[in-house]
Symmetry: C2
Subunit: 132 residues, 2 copies
């Protein structure tokens, strides 16, 4: 199924590329809407799904019950602050090695890896220190 151009999709994609955090569908919707007020949430979902299926963006499930979307499709992992909910990138050099190791000890074919760390981010730690 060939993909035809649409302004909506272009805006969604562009928006995602400008962000280093990992917005949810609704955040994408709210933002794109400012430039294209008629866009519907359904269209946002449809395009995010489409782009993710084609591998142009990445769908993340970090465990807060909402899907997040990442314009960076390179192999990297994430950190989720259980306090403020922010999702940030976390670069680790050993990911490739890990992938190789996993593949070696496993009798299926591994295609993708997803690693997520959870804890409290620096900013939230500061907040709490001040408070107590």
């Amino acid at each position: 199924m060939a993909m035809k151009y649409s302004r909506q999709r272009q805006l969604i994609y562009n928006f995602l590329m400008t962000r280093k955090d990992h917005p949810t569908a609704d955040v994408v919707y709210q933002n794109v809407r400012q430039e294209f007020p008629n866009i519907s949430l359904g269209t946002v979902y449809r395009n995010l799904t489409l782009l993710a299926d084609r591998g142009e963006i990445q769908r993340l499930q970090v465990g807060d019950g909402v899907d997040h979307f990442d314009g960076d499709t390179s192999r990297h992992c994430h950190f989720v602050c259980t306090d403020c909910g922010n999702v940030t990138d976390l670069q680790m050099d050993c990911l490739d090695d890990m992938f190789t190791m996993a593949q070696r000890s496993f009798d299926g074919r591994i295609e993708k890896q997803m690693t997520c760390f959870y804890g409290v981010c620096g900013e939230c730690l500061d907040k709490h220190t001040v408070k107590s």
Copy 2:
């Protein structure tokens, strides 16, 4: 909040401990129901959430839109077959090192790690080979 005993919770916990796969709430429900027909799905959800919050079991979000539950709370990772949907354990020696490395390069406090591999499991690979 102190926790009082309930037969339902006990059955849910026991069931989870007998399983090496990672059942969903509904699978837990269907199974526990055979021994305790009156139990409700809501109770299953409530207890799974309660046990997970207390760290006695683990809630897994592997990206299929449904929560899975794991009686094994030790640090280990998972493999999800994108063909049959099965979720299996995958032991990796480097997880502790990875945790330490992540902690070192990150200015917050890391508490938990979750790694999931995706691909096609051995059995599904065989199936496809036979077919083609």
